[in-house]
Symmetry: C2
Subunit: 387 residues, 2 copies
């Protein structure tokens, strides 16, 4: 096991009716920037509950944070927060709203170009960061309990991530009931995203992190178990609650402590979103099976462990078991309605593979993955295999 520091200071209020806790969490004199998406929280009653519990606090609302939150949109939220001297950001929505809230919180007191926060992956953050609270309405990204944020810039077709310990939410409310009304597509995306988060932290060269391995396998098994239950019956509270809690643990720092991570699937997937606007989770489903194939030698031991412990594949030769595990992975995504081939998205694999390779090359990302052995040429190979 490698040395590590583990710290997750977010207080989670989980369960029915827990939105009431924001009244306890926010100071009475807080000046709140309420950040939200397109309005679904008005339809499902979340907004009403939030407003009630904000009570008489000064609140300024900023609506319109989109999926793959856009830098320019968020800069308008920053302007509002500065103008109204907001001192808390309350994110009400899914991972995009949360990721956006993190950039806003970090940018309000940032001097100079806030895009530098992204370019430096968070290192440019020097000033104070506004405290963040969250009411999560979509289980997926884990953003409710981590210090990560992914921001897109449509103007330049860029998509970058940053991390900073100050952007962990101070508190997050996770009420599974608020997710009952989500469209099926978003639930599926959430499951697929969370599953891949675990894989990125798990499917690496073995590092004898036994707790980390078994926790990762636990989260994957729970996702595999609850996916059909919660898709078939969105109002099954326990199934949904297990999905929500699994998605949080998929990316709250516990699985990655002391072990290597990979994240090449995400790096390549982000390019597919930037180029073709494919949903984030769907890009992962496209890239992951092919990446497993291309990287199977370096990941051999862990792929065999994955086959046995996650999919109960225990017989057959090593390569047969690895192939079976990769097929199970693909079938899992397909079973929740997420297509895993580029052609399913009307994307020309050859052209896109070359373009993604070129873009990574241009950004200097010429050695990605856990062993930094995924070159642009390998990225091209992976994407062609995903045709």
């Amino acid at each position: 096991m490698e040395n590590f520091t583990y710290h997750n200071p977010t207080r989670i209020h989980f369960g029915r009716g827990q939105i009431a806790k924001i009244n306890r969490e926010l100071p009475a004199n807080a000046r709140v920037l309420l950040l939200a998406g397109g309005g679904s929280i008005k339809a499902n009653g979340v907004y009403e509950q939030v407003k009630k519990n904000l009570g008489a606090r000064v609140t300024h609302e900023f609506w319109g944070v989109e999926a793959n939150p856009d830098f320019d949109t968020l800069m308008r939220a920053v302007e509002l927060a500065r103008k109204e001297t907001c001192d808390w950001v309350l994110a009400v929505g899914g991972g995009s709203v949360l990721d956006g809230a993190k950039l806003v919180a970090a940018a309000v007191h940032h001097e100079g170009d806030a895009w530098q926060i992204l370019v430096t992956h968070g290192a440019a953050i020097k000033g104070p960061v506004l405290p963040i609270g969250a009411v999560l309405t979509l289980p997926a990204t884990g953003s409710e309990a981590n210090g990560n944020s992914v921001i897109s810039r449509r103007a330049t077709k860029e998509k970058l991530a940053f991390y900073h310990p100050q952007v962990f939410p101070k508190f997050s409310v996770l009420d599974p009931e608020t997710t009952f009304s989500l469209p099926e597509r978003q639930v599926a995306n959430g499951i697929g995203d969370a599953f891949c988060h675990v894989i990125e932290q798990y499917l690496t060269f073995p590092a004898d992190g036994q707790i980390q391995d078994r926790f990762a396998e636990s989260v994957m098994r729970v996702l595999i178990d609850v996916a059909p239950r919660t898709m078939a019956n969105p109002r099954d509270y326990d199934a949904r609650a297990n999905l929500v809690w699994a998605a949080t643990w998929a990316l709250n720092g516990s699985l990655s402590a002391g072990v290597p991570g990979d994240w090449a699937t995400h790096t390549i997937g982000h390019e597919l979103t930037a180029l073709h606007g494919i949903d984030h989770a769907r890009t992962l489903a496209i890239v992951l099976p092919s990446l497993m194939q291309v990287q199977r030698e370096g990941k051999r031991a862990k792929l065999l462990q994955y086959a046995e412990r996650v999919w109960d594949i225990k017989s057959g030769g090593e390569d047969a078991r690895i192939d079976a595990a990769i097929e199970k992975t693909r079938a899992f995504y397909e079973s929740i309605g997420i297509k895993t081939r580029l052609q399913d998205y009307q994307v020309d694999a050859g052209k896109t593979a070359a373009e993604v390779a070129r873009r990574l090359e241009a950004r200097g990302e010429t050695a990605i993955g856990e062993r930094e052995d995924i070159t642009p040429a390998k990225v091209e190979e992976i994407l062609k295999l995903a045709a």
Copy 2:
């Protein structure tokens, strides 16, 4: 799943050489009360590393916190902290030193009789609590990352626990190498203690907390795997690191969030320590198998899950599988050198069973366990079965 709030703010520095982090964690002007046990930290080099990293900070040392830390001892530490106006407590040692540090930190500014902190299980804590840092030298209690403390009072043969959110350590250093020199008996006790912590949170009526169940099963499987490795070769870094990390997760709040807990094994075990001075972990090994037997109907579903997922017991009738799982549990404790029968400790089961039942009755603890169905009469039955 039940509603819950989950919050674990302790920052963990894990690995070789991480004691150096205390220099970053403690303010330069901190006035430190260093709390320690009998002196083993001088023999194994931990004290030297700690002193080096405390540097020029004002430090007052209090030595002599014993196993099952004694209230009267700790009150002398409180006097020292008050006299020297200490504003940080640094615990350097195992769970007893940590538990003691929590009482000291809470008692320094407490008005009136500090024993009330124990009697009220923490509710009496009103004043400010000194911040706590820890350098853990014995993997066992999980006290390095929770808000729990168990304190004994030899003068009255009492042993009580308290919880308070303010006594979570601000930071804890876990360097597996500092545990290499532990006596075999203490390592075994740590493993046995951690295993029972998991059982108390897991072996209950099912609550469909799938993450919690699988994480609990993960921690138990890791303990079962590393116990023989780390006992056979105490200097095997990875085995010891996995033990240390498993023991932390066994009681950091993650396994109990949203699901019922039992803790009757601990309640009964504490009485055996109070009456006969038996090591804490050993009392758990005595009580647990018999408690499983006596409570097998209420715990039937979870005992079957435990048999299958933790011990791979998949064939035979239900009762046979439960019996096998209980025997596996007993054999696990015996395999690490922890005897599981009262007669192994030269204790008369009949007399002790009656005495423990009488003491619990006298304290009004007449309905313990997850379903509050363990009466003093049942306690007597459990202890007689443990003869």
